[in-house]
Symmetry: C2
Subunit: 408 residues, 2 copies
């Protein structure tokens, strides 16, 4: 048995990047395994969750959450798994602005006894990182063995290397990017508009009343399509009609009955209904804004300059079917590391599973991650886009998608 | 001066594919040029409009429409243009179910004197084709020189070759497909959900009251992202903040003010506001359903079987940056033509402009189209994906996007 701890720490006054502060930042977290000091600093591994994730990274956790917030990386984190909790002390913290116990819009504002709602200060990825640093201080953890995370969590990982370059030996941004592109910014903006134009949103002051679930459902569905790939959707659903039992959970016009209710619709509708039960609409606004706002190069001359102070090793992982955080974006990060002199490998995973691959392909994500945590860039299962032969030329050996549907 | 006619024809009882009928189908249309009988039948060219288009294909038309519904292919259709109205008699009809004068949800139901709303029968692409045939009969046009159209209009073109294979000499489906894929079906379903979950929709009975403009705006924005490409959005907007004058036209939370209102958001918001002024929400439901439902092979053993009776020539045009109607989908159509013995060329246009390319790259679309109308597949500006050398093997010479973000 590995030790599991689940709780909330009160960390005192916290000033957000925007300049606003709150009197007592609360951070909900879980930890797995036993903390040990090592030669490199410690055996501590911080895992950063994605947009709608929680601190409950593995099933042993105690958080009362559901869906992708419950044991969301259980195939990767646990005893004997890639991030082995018998070996590492694994910490995952719910980011400020989220809705799983940390300070955020649905949490109680101590001054009023009511939920903060949209009075909560705007939150950035930088705030996530500083809150995690404060939590780790409170837990007695100094230097980390590694910081690992996917998607928006991967941005959080990158920010660790920028804000606390001396505090971490190895970073693993998975399915990440230095910044979102215009297409993703657009889709996130549409998702937020769906929430704020839901009449039930009421300027964000819906707590104790009907929640803007229709807007949040739309936002989630737009996001869900971003997490899948054209190929995976075609293979999983095609154009098939859903079973007879499947019925829409929202209004439709009379003419709709003449046409099939398709499996792909039914799936997205079902997933959205589950999501709105577990997630807070204001939180969706806050966290997508943080993700959209993130730019590795902000305050620096470029991505390489931002990473220059980091003296650890970097493993980047990306997925060929991912159009949210693309292979090209990770390769661009790898180039920035190379320019900055940061030892790096960019491990490209062949997968049709889109952005979701980092969650649903543990057999491909696990081995390089395990070996990197153990042996750094010498890890056996790690492949790099730059082979030794052509390293001089800086040529990547993944097939660049210059003729892809998007970049062609 | 070429003759321009703009009007509405009452075509009598019309039974829709669903089995329901209405007493007096009205079809709004425009025609440009003079009709002439020719050896092949006539100089008539039917142009099929896309989802939100209208009969007002060229600026000479008289329809009081706006945005993409006004003179939507003015760069292609007109005196001296690719579809030369001094040479061809060009007809464009507003499809049944639409909102530019033909029978559809916002049109008056003669029995009640009120708008049909969602009492209007469900509409299919097949209904569009049969209504166009009826209109052309009424106009005295028998056999057509060509049927040309893009996007959903391209599906309409394909349906002409299936339903009336002897009535048309040449077809040009532009940026079309035999059917939509699961990803596009999903996004269309989310768009419809945005409309029907807008409280103002009221089951479709909103005429004379507040319209569900918020839902329609979201639907349009989702569609708009589908029409652009990742590359074009990156180049056009990047992550830039909008100018100081740009303000959101819908509610936002307090925290939003800390973050930039980006150009890409501002653009999509502005376009959506313009769109909701010119388009009917119920029509958006009806026409996306028709597009989603379309399947070339329905009632046949496959796409080739469906096309087998067509004895004319086919020019397919597709665009490398299009992820809504992909190059692969057009190539699959070309294969079906080859199998069916239908003379075909598949002309692939290099463009970063996404699906919109068929509207915004007239200098690339015009020449092959002009030459095809004049000389059929011998047209000089036409390139085919199958070069003469490897025709035996049926190998396409466009770079297949197997390693693309989507299909990789």
């Amino acid at each position: 048995m590995t030790a599991v701890e689940s709780g909330t720490r009160r960390l005192g006054e916290f000033t957000f990047e925007c300049g606003e502060s709150i009197d007592d930042l609360q951070v909900a977290y879980e930890s797995y395994g036993d903390f040990e000091a090592t030669e490199e600093g410690s055996n501590a591994v911080l895992v950063c969750h994605a947009l709608t994730g929680s601190q409950n990274v593995a099933s042993a956790g105690l958080a009362e959450t559901a869906g992708q917030a419950r044991a969301w990386w259980n195939d990767i984190v646990g005893p004997g798994k890639a991030i082995d909790t018998t070996e590492y002390y694994v910490v995952c913290a719910n980011v400020p602005g989220s809705c799983y116990g940390s300070s955020g819009p649905p949490a109680e504002n101590p001054e009023t006894g009511e939920p903060w709602g949209t009075d909560f200060p705007p939150v950035t990825v930088g705030d996530w990182t500083r809150a995690q640093r404060r939590l780790l201080d409170d837990l007695g953890v100094g230097r980390l063995h590694a910081v690992v995370g996917g998607s928006a969590g991967g941005m959080n990982v990158l920010d660790w290397a920028v804000q606390y370059p001396d505090d971490v030996a190895r970073i693993v941004p998975v399915a990440a990017a230095a910044r979102l592109d215009a297409q993703c910014l657009a889709l996130d903006a549409i998702a937020r508009r769906a929430i704020t134009t839901d009449d039930a949103w009421q300027g964000g002051d819906y707590y104790g009343d009907e929640r803007p679930t229709e807007g949040l459902a739309l936002a989630r569905q737009i996001g869900h399509v971003m997490y899948l790939s054209k190929t995976s959707m075609g293979e999983k659903f095609g154009r098939r009609a859903a079973g007879r039992d499947a019925v829409r959970s929202f209004p439709a016009d009379r003419a709709a009955a003449y046409f099939p209710y398709r499996e792909v619709e039914s799936y997205l509708d079902y997933q959205a209904e589950k999501f709105v039960d577990r997630f807070d609409p204001n939180t969706y606004l806050y966290l997508t804004r943080a993700m959209d706002d993130y730019d590795l190069s902000e305050g620096y001359e470029g991505d390489a300059d931002a990473l220059a102070a980091f003296e650890g090793e970097t493993l980047l992982m990306s997925f060929t079917g991912d159009w949210h955080f693309t292979v090209e974006q990770s390769e661009s990060l790898a180039d920035a590391c190379r320019t900055a002199g940061v030892p790096v490998a960019h491990h490209v995973v062949e997968s049709d599973h889109g952005h979701d691959a980092f969650l649903v392909e543990p057999e491909k994500v696990g081995p390089p991650l395990r070996d990197f945590l153990a042996d750094g860039l010498d890890g056996r299962a790690i492949h790099d886009t730059v082979s030794e032969d052509d390293e001089d030329e800086g040529e990547a050996d993944f097939a660049p998608v210059h003729n892809s549907l998007f970049s062609g």
